[in-house]
């Protein structure tokens, strides 16, 4: 039984990583699209970011030096990622539910990181873990773990309630949405209950982590906790195949679309890629397009459909 739980956990982690990378690669391999940016673009010059301006506000902008304002992007991204600033600004009713859920997940992710570090240190330099460091880490992951799981459960329950009761959400809610939130509540609920209810003889958290990493089936994980771990692991594996993988999508929607204001420079990488796309042979069927599958994009767009009738 323990071995099955380990397989599920390790397998799910692998599926999550592979699934997420595959999704990211799929998006990254899409062709460079036509520009479709939305202002404000935070990597613009600071004085322009304030009002949402672009380099187009300068006469002869192409002769001016371009500076990438990394600080501007970071200043936008950190509150957006950590605090969901956009949602706070535009949809407060959703933020009060979504923020605890997401922040809870961040804390859970942080807890996993802390546990891995602790488990590693405990094996490599056990003498260091006896003192303040060990106690400090123990308290830290305990606090982040419990608060993260509780926040995530509360947030998921609040989101589920809103999905079921708010008219504007109900219309668009499908069984999958309810299932997803329900799964979070169930998995994290089992984890929480499993930790709270585990007996005094149960293995410690770090021991469990070490056992999973070393596939030590001699460690007896309490049933409820094992169930919670397995459910959470399966949820993790499921995420890359759903819209919940928006942590991947968001990277592209912001960096490749909303903020992609890079102008075309003669001979640059974009121009080379565009040259390839112009050799594609579209098959759009409308007569005015004139794409019969043999003409390239370049040929199609340099043909004037109004000339056809004249010949």
């Amino acid at each position: 039984m323990t071995a099955i739980v380990y397989v599920v956990i390790l397998g799910a982690a692998l599926v999550f990583v592979i699934g997420s990378i595959a999704r990211a690669i799929r998006y990254a391999r899409h062709p460079i699209h036509l520009r479709w940016e939305l202002y404000p673009v935070p990597h613009e010059e600071p004085h322009r970011v304030q009002h949402g301006g672009s380099y187009f506000e300068q006469v002869n902008w192409w002769t001016k030096p371009t500076r990438f304002n990394l600080f501007g992007e970071v200043r936008f991204m950190v509150p957006e990622m950590l605090l969901m600033k956009g949602l706070w600004e535009f949809n407060r009713a959703m933020w009060v539910r979504s923020f605890p859920f997401h922040f809870g997940l961040y804390l859970v992710i942080g807890t996993i990181g802390l546990l891995l570090v602790t488990a590693l240190l405990d094996r490599v330099v056990p003498e260091m873990m006896v003192g303040t460091l060990g106690i400090g880490l123990h308290w830290l992951y305990t606090v982040t773990g419990f608060s993260g799981v509780i926040l995530a459960i509360c947030g998921a329950a609040a989101l589920l309630h809103r999905r079921l009761t708010a008219e504007d959400l109900k219309t668009y809610t499908v069984p999958g949405d309810l299932f997803n939130l329900g799964w979070f509540i169930l998995a994290f609920g089992c984890l929480l209950a499993g930790f709270i209810l585990k007996g005094p003889d149960s293995p410690g958290t770090v021991t469990v982590v070490q056992a999973i990493l070393t596939f030590d089936t001699g460690v007896r994980i309490p049933g409820l906790l094992a169930l919670g771990l397995a459910l959470a692991a399966l949820l993790l594996a499921y995420i890359p195949f759903t819209h919940m993988s928006h942590f991947i999508g968001k990277f592209f929607t912001y960096h490749s679309v909303r903020w992609n204001d890079q102008p075309l420079r003669p001979g640059d990488r974009i121009e080379k890629r565009l040259a390839e796309y112009l050799t594609y042979k579209p098959t759009w069927a409308a007569r005015h397009v004139g794409a019969d599958g043999t003409k390239t994009w370049a040929e199609v767009v340099t043909t004037n459909p109004a000339d056809r009738g004249k010949k």
């Binding site: 998006y27 899409h30 479709w36 999508g249 929607t253 075309l264 004037n304």
Partner: protein, 535 residues
């Protein structure tokens, strides 16, 4: 009151519209238009239109798709729709927008944050049909079912939808109930883009099924590619008209104005929206006067399509879009100008400067810039003697979406207005958070059936509210007021809407472009370039 709509209702077989709007349902307007009972009654859609066309969506009909005559024809239309849907998601056919489209399809969390940002949804009184995600949700379900070939599990995860001809007919219309202003996308926490969905649907209908509003296609991009301009002006006619404008401007200003044509090696190739030449000749006249006074070497081009900056393909068809953009660049290359400057036309700005940037490669990559920045530099440089007291009337500034949110040209026009209009006041919100005029994405030129009623009552309502609020302290007819709209399409929509609500007759609210305000303030010019009369 309409029953609660669901995405699957788009497939309903009944040959009747899904929703009906009454004035009482709409977002309230401020005084003096605060009584819905006194608002104009909507012109009903004619029985003839309903008989001939698929008008199954709401109270109007924008595209006029004929009813399929036989079941075979209906089947063929469905086949084409599916084939077009599939092509939207292939790199060979849609490299131009594949990535943002797929991201939008796969990551919407249906949180409805975008809804409150949409002026159409808000103005409709929150009608479900106009919610930005309504259209997208239908498209998303089609994507997972027919493009990704999802089965039962996918339907459970993403929702199901039945593909029937009424759904396609309604979707054609629904793709023309969005101004493509992308205010919704700006607020999306994930970066999904409902405006893009409407754009891509329009492309599918045009590029695969040959369906588009005649104002955009037959009388728009096709006419431009055939005779040179969607106004129907050929090079000879446009030159005649501009010569007349020169004479008129000379007479009105007391300064000799001459527009140069086809000057090789000029610094600037100026491209106007040719609608200005026809409807607002004071705008190209003012441009000529200002550029001459500033000592700029400039020219217009009489090449096919190069004297009309419009590019309607931007709204519905990538091939038509690219063709026109290339014509513009070819004219500039032929004249060996240093740069192209786009006149007061928002969508032409975005089309040529931003979107076409990844089409105009090699020697077609001629620098392109906004007339806003050029005018700002002229005004701020002191090359013109300006007397702001000549513009001593309340002025508010409309931000064309294509110029601000979609291109980031926000401050130049403001710097000018702040300098020359002492009684300037902002609309709220403004800049990149602005609201569309309601005429965006082609609506301003679409006037078939009773479509104007819809765009005045619904899509333009938020802008009207903003204008009335901006002038709330001086609404009386004793104070002439000016809405500065540096975009031809926006100007057309604002003109039509102000006229519809009698805002000039009753409240002396006029509208116009930016460059006219500059000329009106020029000391060397005879006073009164802006004529306080309705036009």
């Amino acid at each position: 009151m309409n029953e609660k709509l669901r995405p699957e209702d788009m497939s309903r077989e009944e040959k009747k519209p899904l929703v009906h709007l009454d004035n009482e349902d709409l977002m309230p307007l401020p005084p003096p238009l605060d009584d819905p009972a006194k608002d104009h009654k909507w012109a009903p859609l004619s029985a003839q239109a309903r008989e001939k066309f698929e008008c199954l969506l709401d109270d109007t009909c924008a595209v006029n798709v004929p009813h399929p005559k036989t079941p075979e024809e209906e089947k063929e239309l469905l086949r084409k729709f599916l084939s077009g849907l599939d092509k939207l998601f292939t790199r060979e056919n849609n490299w131009t927008f594949l990535q943002p489209l797929v991201l939008t399809m796969e990551h919407c969390a249906k949180c409805q944050t975008c809804s409150t940002a949409c002026h159409i949804y808000e103005a409709s009184g929150g009608n479900e049909l106009y919610r930005p995600t309504y259209r997208s949700e239908v498209m998303r379900r089609l994507y997972f079912k027919y493009v990704k070939h999802g089965g039962l599990l996918s339907a459970w995860q993403h929702g199901d939808i039945q593909l029937r001809w009424p759904l396609v007919a309604r979707l054609i219309e629904l793709s023309y109930r969005c101004n493509l202003c992308r205010r919704c996308a700006q607020t999306c926490p994930i970066g999904a883009d409902n405006g893009l969905v409407a754009h891509e649907l329009r492309k599918l209908f045009s590029q695969e099924m040959g369906i588009a509003p005649k104002e955009l296609h037959d009388r728009g991009s096709m006419l431009q590619l055939e005779v040179g301009s969607s106004t129907g002006m050929n090079p000879m006619v446009v030159k005649d008209n501009v010569a007349f404008i020169d004479e008129d401007t000379t007479e009105r200003t007391g300064i000799k104005v001459e527009t140069p044509w086809d000057v090789e090696g000029a610094d600037v190739l100026l491209i106007h929206n040719a609608g200005e030449i026809m409807a607002w000749p004071e705008n190209p006249g003012a441009f000529a006067l200002v550029l001459n006074a500033a000592g700029i070497t400039w020219t217009l081009s009489s090449d096919l399509a190069a004297y009309d900056a419009i590019n309607y393909g931007l709204w519905y068809d990538d091939a038509q879009f690219a063709r026109v953009a290339i014509k513009h660049a070819e004219a500039a290359r032929k004249l060996k100008v240093k740069k192209i400057v786009v006149g007061e036309c928002g969508h032409a700005h975005k089309a040529l400067a931003v979107i076409a940037d990844r089409i105009l490669t090699g020697d077609l990559n001629i620098p392109r810039e906004s007339s806003m920045t050029l005018l700002r530099d002229i005004v701020m440089s002191g090359r013109l003697k300006l007397d702001p007291s000549r513009n001593d009337f309340p002025v508010t500034l409309h931000d064309p979406c294509n110029l601000v949110r979609l291109m980031g040209v926000v401050e130049p026009q403001r710097e000018i207005v702040r300098k020359i209009c002492p009684r300037f006041r902002e609309m709220w919100p403004h800049g990149v958070d602005n609201y569309c005029c309601g005429g965006g994405s082609g609506f301003a030129i679409m006037s078939g059936n009773n479509f104007p009623d819809w765009r005045f009552h619904v899509s333009g309502r938020k802008k009207l509210q903003q204008i009335l609020n901006a002038f709330s302290d001086c609404l009386g007819p004793e104070t002439p007021k000016h809405v500065c709209a540096p975009c031809s399409n926006c100007k057309g929509q604002i003109r039509d809407m102000l006229a519809y609500y009698g805002m000039w007759e009753k409240h002396r609210i006029l509208y116009g472009g930016l460059v006219e305000l500059i000329v009106n303030a020029m000391e060397d010019v005879k006073p009164g370039y802006i004529q306080w009369e309705w036009h």
